[in-house]
């Protein structure tokens, strides 16, 4: 009935918002029906009050900044190390033989298993969380970079070499860009892993952050705080996905027209 008045994007947003509102309304309506204590089943109003309180006391902004800082630094370091290791293993047969068994073994030990020993070595807090995040991000980046490097079409390498490329120029102008679609796949996987890893590490090894808020709220029967933490976590991930992962994909893969090697072969 409002067709023509709204842009498709606005309409989509309004419909999405309507879904959320209906869910919140049902939740609020269910509270008297369930009839349990707020610490067991808090209402949306309780959650809102917890949110306002956490903002007024300055707790939530600090936790959010802490979580974001840990996340971005951990992911950033993991990306750099993962790409570097993937390149090294992909380009050097010796490095591949020495490192591949080791890396396959380490990959099998999930980061959750490392966190207790990281806590012993590095204590609770920043260092342990950072190292856990780097660890989580490293492997998907490494494997996907490696895959990308190993599947660079030989004809691109040959073309660049007969145009006079040095080894370094070959890596910079051919191998890295050719591997970029794979690297971005690794980035998406790693970013998702790292986000879960962050919440988990904060639950175990932190005294601040969104993960800590979720855990601490529940263990002190401030359940509304836990739900605030969960909602913030969801919004944070949507924000990171929209503002940082999607645009990277757009400017690389999409601009080359979903380029695959098959396109050039007839």
């Amino acid at each position: 009935m409002n067709a023509g008045l709204l842009t498709p994007a606005t309409e989509r947003f309004l419909k999405g918002a309507a879904g959320v509102l209906v869910l919140v309304a049902l939740w609020q309506a269910s509270v008297p029906l369930v009839g349990l204590e707020p610490y067991f089943y808090p209402s949306p109003a309780d959650v809102w009050h917890a949110f306002v309180e956490l903002m007024e006391k300055g707790i939530l902004p600090v936790y959010l900044v802490d979580s974001l800082y840990r996340y971005l630094l951990g992911v950033g370091l993991g990306i750099v190390l993962g790409i570097a290791a993937g390149l090294l293993i992909g380009l050097s047969a010796t490095a591949s033989r020495i490192l591949t068994p080791l890396i396959n073994f380490l990959f099998a030990i999930v980061e959750v298993a490392w966190i207790p020993i990281f806590v012993i070595w590095f204590g609770y807090g920043f260092k342990t969380i950072l190292i856990a995040l780097v660890y989580v991000v490293l492997f998907p980046l490494l494997y996907n970079t490696l895959l990308g490097v190993r599947t660079v079409p030989q004809v691109y390498v040959n073309a660049a070499r007969s145009l006079g490329a040095t080894r370094l120029q070959l890596i910079k102008d051919v191998i890295l860009p050719a591997a970029l679609p794979n690297i971005i796949t690794g980035l998406r996987v790693g970013a998702g892993f790292a986000f879960r890893g962050l919440i988990f590490a904060e639950i175990i090894a932190a005294k601040t952050g969104i993960g800590y808020l979720i855990f601490e709220g529940a263990s002190t029967q401030q359940t509304a705080r836990t739900i605030v933490g969960m909602i913030v976590m969801g919004l944070l991930w949507l924000f990171l996905d929209r503002c940082y992962l999607k645009p990277i994909e757009r400017v690389t893969i999409e601009r080359w027209g979903q380029v695959t090697t098959a396109e050039d072969r007839e």
């Binding site: 079409p153 004809v155 007969s162 145009l163 006079g164 102008d173 027209g257 050039d264 007839e266």
Partner: protein
């Protein structure tokens, strides 16, 4: 099949034997048994033969992608051991880098040499004009037709000012009409660039149309069956005239008989 050393020999193949290891297996495939051939400075030499005669492998060896398992390949008396900018290659699958615009592809060799951006773009534009691609410089390779991609690949090779241009069935993947246009353009472009060309094809017509000399290879493993001189003046090398040229028709039929392995009509 004489290999008398003349002063204007550019590339000399001396009893060259070429094998390559097949992709999956460990088996070695003999591509070229023994070829001795002098490629003269500034000539347009075409090698023609049925598929599997090792003609593309020959290009790979001269380009330096593949080491001979017997004999020697020299350029200006020096052994060829690796790819280099002195030998430009035009590949059947174009090998344009999909993440670079046409102008950056064409300027790539100059970038590798450290030529400043303004200067290498000026050179690239000159060769894009020669190859009728002036309007396409800002496009990405996937936006080009097959014929335009191959023009861009030729422009990229020529812009890098190689001493020798190696062309590996460059027009095999484009449609018949485009192929004829590209052949005529190549004649014209070569008139301007005047460099040594080794052109490999399975098309007899193409070989006689383009070449100063046509080398016929036997079916694999390749050896030289005969060398045919084509002394049709360059000015007549367009399809309108060539189709009716008795000399062209005679030479084409002669080479065709050689390629098909039937006894040579006296």
């Amino acid at each position: 099949m004489t290999t008398t050393q003349t002063t204007d020999t550019k590339i000399r193949l001396d009893a060259v034997r070429l094998e390559y290891v097949k992709e999956e297996g460990r088996s070695r495939h003999l591509a070229v048994e023994s070829i001795s051939l002098d490629i003269r400075d500034k000539e347009f030499l075409v090698v023609v033969g049925p598929s599997g005669c090792g003609k593309s492998t020959l290009i790979s060896a001269i380009a330096g992608f593949l080491k001979p398992t017997g004999g020697h390949i020299t350029m200006d008396g020096r052994e060829i051991t690796r790819p280099g900018a002195d030998r430009g290659v035009v590949f059947q699958e174009y090998a344009l880098l999909p993440w670079k615009r046409v102008i950056d592809n064409v300027a790539l060799g100059l970038k590798f040499k450290g030529v400043p951006k303004a200067e290498r773009y000026a050179t690239a534009r000159r060769f894009l004009a020669i190859t009728n691609l002036a309007d396409a410089e800002q496009k990405f390779p996937h936006e080009l037709s097959g014929g335009m991609k191959q023009r861009a690949a030729v422009a990229r090779t020529l812009a890098n000012a190689p001493e020798v241009m190696l062309m590996d069935e460059p027009f095999a993947a484009v449609d018949a009409q485009t192929r004829m246009t590209l052949q005529e353009e190549l004649v014209r472009v070569w008139e301007q660039a005047r460099l040594t060309v080794l052109f490999v094809t399975h098309s007899v017509e193409e070989a006689v149309f383009l070449g100063d000399r046509v080398v016929v290879l036997t079916p694999g493993p390749g050896r030289i069956k005969s060398i045919v001189d084509v002394s049709i003046p360059r000015a007549r090398r367009n399809w309108q005239e060539m189709n009716q040229d008795p000399e062209f028709i005679r030479l084409r039929d002669e080479v065709l008989v050689q390629v098909r392995g039937q006894p040579v009509a006296a």
